[in-house]
C-alpha cells in the first residue's frame, strides 16, 4: 500500500539508519616506521588498492603497549594508501583519547566469542515462543500478515499475491498459494505446513525458493511441509 507523501513540506534531508561494512587494519605495533615498512611490503607501490574505502583501526593487539601511537602520523600513512581511517576500536583509554583528538571516532570493542559462550549458545534452545497468532479469514492478493515472535496459524486460504510471515512456523489449513516466509528472524528450526502446497515462494530463515519450475507433483497441491536441512529447503508430503 502506497503511503501518501506529504506534499507541503519538501524535505531537504532525511535521517535514516544505515550500516557499513568496513575493512579493519589490525595494528600490531605502535612504531610508525615499522607499520610503514610492512604496509609497503604488503601493498607494494600501488596506492590505489584501497579505493578511498573507510577503514577501522583495530588497537586490540596494542592495547597494553606502553608506547603511545602517533595517530596523525598513522592517518597520513593510511591516506597515502587511499585508505580513509574513520574509527578506532579496542584501544586503551589513552589511545582512544588520542584517536578522538586526531578526529577519529571510537566504536565499542568487538566481542570476542569465547569458547564457553559459543557452547552455551549452541546448547540453549531458541527462545521459547509461547505465543501463537491465528487468522481465520482468507488472505487475498496484496494482504500481508506477520506473526512477530510467534507461530502463525491460518484457517482460510492464502491466495496468490498474499504474504504470510512468521518468526516461528507457519501452518495453513487451506490452500497456500501466496508467499510463506517462516523463521523470519533466522530460526532455522521453523517449518511451513499446509494442507494444499501451491505457494509462489517459500522461505525459512532467509533460505528461499520460488516455484518456477513448479514443485514436484508428489507435493504440489497436496498436504506437505517445508523444513530446512543445512542450506537446503526440503519439501516433503505429509502422509497420515
Amino acid at each position: 500500500m502506497a503511503l501518501a507523501s506529504s506534499g507541503n513540506s519538501p524535505a531537504v534531508f532525511d535521517l535514516k539508519s544505515a550500516s557499513l561494512t568496513l575493512v579493519a587494519l589490525v595494528v600490531k605495533s605502535t612504531r610508525l616506521p615499522d607499520l610503514a615498512e610492512q604496509l609497503k611490503i604488503r601493498l607494494g607501490p600501488s596506492t590505489e588498492f584501497f579505493n578511498h574505502d573507510p577503514v577501522l583501526i583495530d588497537l586490540s593487539q596494542v592495547h597494553d603497549s606502553p608506547e603511545p601511537l602517533d595517530f596523525p602520523g598513522l592517518i597520513d600513512l593510511m591516506r597515502s594508501y587511499s585508505m580513509v581511517p574513520v574509527a578506532v576500536r579496542g584501544g586503551s583509554t589513552a589511545q582512544i583519547d588520542a584517536a578522538l583528538a586526531a578526529g577519529l571516532c571510537a566504536v565499542p570493542p568487538q566481542e570476542s566469542p569465547s569458547p564457553a559462550r559459543a557452547a552455551s549458545t549452541a546448547a540453549a534452545p531458541v527462545a521459547p515462543r509461547a505465543s501463537i497468532m491465528v487468522v481465520d479469514r482468507p488472505l487475498r492478493s496484496g494482504q500481508q500478515v506477520y506473526a512477530k515472535g510467534a507461530d502463525l496459524v491460518i484457517l482460510a486460504l492464502v491466495n496468490h499475491g498474499a504474504e504470510v510471515i512468521a518468526d516461528g512456523s507457519i501452518h495453513v489449513y487451506a490452500p497456500l498459494r501466496g508467499k510463506a516466509i517462516a523463521g523470519a528472524t533466522g530460526d532455522v528450526n521453523a517449518r511451513i505446513f499446509t494442507t494444499c502446497m501451491e505457494p509462489e515462494l517459500i522461505s525459512i530463515a532467509g533460505i528461499y525458493q520460488t516455484t518456477d519450475p513448479p514443485l514436484p507433483s508428489e507435493v504440489r497441491g497436496k498436504s506437505a511441509q517445508v523444513r530446512l536441512d543445512g542450506d537446503t529447503l526440503i519439501i516433503e508430503p505429509i502422509r497420515v
Partner: protein, 271 residues
C-alpha cells in the same frame, strides 16, 4: 434503510458499468426505488450506457461540494419509473471525492426513501474505488474468466474485507457476490478461458450469476440502453436472473453449458 451495493472489480473493462446499469435497471423493474451512481469521476461512462448523457446538468461532485441540491443532480431514467442516475463529473478527478461528502449524499438518498443505492466503481484500487466501496453493504465483484481479472478481483475482495466502513467498525462484513461476465462455454471447453469452477476455486465466494459473452452487450451499450432491456438476449436474461437471486429467489444457473452452435444463430436472428 437503503442498501448500498458496490459494483467493483479492480480490473478495467470487465463490465462494471454494464453490470451497474443493468442491475440497477433490474431492481427498478422489480419495483424497487433505486439510484445508480457513477464513481468514475473524470472518465464518466455510466450516463452513456444509460443513454442520459445529454441530460447531465449537475453531477456527484457538485452535490458533494454542496453546490446544488441532490434533487437537482438526480436524473430520472427514461426506461424505468423507479430509477435515477447520479452522473460523475467529467472535468474533475477522483481527489474531489471524500468520505464525508459521499456519506452525506447516501444519507440524503436514504431519507428520500431509496431502497437500493448502486455504486459503479472505477477500475483500480485508488481513491475512486475506495470511495465507491467504503459504505457498501454488499458487493458485486465482476470478474472475467481470465487470470489477471481473477487476481484483481481477489485484491478487491481483500480490500472489501479490510478497508470498508463495515470492516473498520467491526460490523458484519460486506456481503460478497461473484458475477462472471463475458463467459463463453465454447472457449472454456477449448481451454482458452477459465471455467466457473476454476474461478470459484480461487476466489471462493458465492456466485450470483454468469453473463455470457454476447455481441448484444456492445450493441446495447452503444445505443445507450442497459442490456437488460434487450428482450430475448441471453445477457438480458442473465441479468434478470442475477437481480432475482439478489432479491432472494432461487434460480438455476443458465448460459454456463456448451450448446449446439445452431442455438446462437437462431437466437441472434439474421446476421
Amino acid at each position: 434503510m437503503a442498501k448500498i451495493i458496490v459494483v467493483t472489480s479492480g480490473k478495467g473493462g470487465v463490465g462494471k458499468t454494464t453490470t451497474s446499469a443493468s442491475f440497477a435497471s433490474g431492481l427498478a423493474i422489480r419495483g424497487h426505488k433505486t439510484v445508480v451512481i457513477d464513481f468514475d469521476v473524470g472518465l464518466r461512462n455510466l450516463d452513456l450506457v444509460m443513454g442520459c448523457e445529454r441530460r447531465v446538468v449537475y453531477d456527484l461532485i457538485n452535490v458533494i461540494n454542496s453546490e446544488v441540491h441532490l434533487q437537482q443532480a438526480l436524473i430520472k431514467d427514461k426506461h424505468c419509473e423507479n430509477l435515477f442516475v447520479l452522473a460523475a463529473s467529467q472535468t474533475r478527478d477522483k481527489e474531489a471525492l471524500n468520505k464525508e461528502g459521499v456519506g452525506r449524499v447516501f444519507q440524503e438518498l436514504a431519507e428520500m426513501d431509496f431502497e437500493f443505492i448502486v455504486c459503479d466503481s472505477p477500475a483500480g484500487i485508488e481513491t475512486g474505488a475506495m470511495m465507491a466501496m467504503h459504505f457498501a453493504d454488499e458487493a458485486l465483484v465482476v470478474t472475467n474468466p481470465e487470470v489477471s481479472s481473477v487476481r484483481d478481483s481477489d485484491r478487491i475482495l481483500g480490500m472489501l474485507s479490510s478497508k470498508t466502513l463495515r470492516a473498520i467498525e467491526g460490523r458484519e462484513p460486506v456481503k460478497e457476490h461473484l458475477l462472471i461476465t463475458r463467459y463463453n462455454p465454447t472457449r472454456v471447453q477449448g481451454g482458452e478461458m477459465l471455467s466457473i469452477e476454476d474461478i470459484h476455486e480461487i476466489l471462493r465466494i458465492k456466485l450470483i450469476g454468469v453473463v455470457p459473452e454476447s455481441e448484444v452487450v456492445l450493441q446495447a451499450s452503444n445505443q445507450g440502453v442497459p442490456v437488460i432491456h434487450m428482450a430475448g438476449a441471453d445477457a438480458s436474461e442473465a441479468y434478470k436472473d442475477i437481480v432475482a437471486r439478489f432479491l432472494g429467489e432461487d434460480k438455476p444457473m443458465r448460459f454456463i453449458d456448451l450448446v449446439k452452435p445452431g442455438f446462437f444463430k437462431r437466437l441472434f436472428g439474421a446476421r
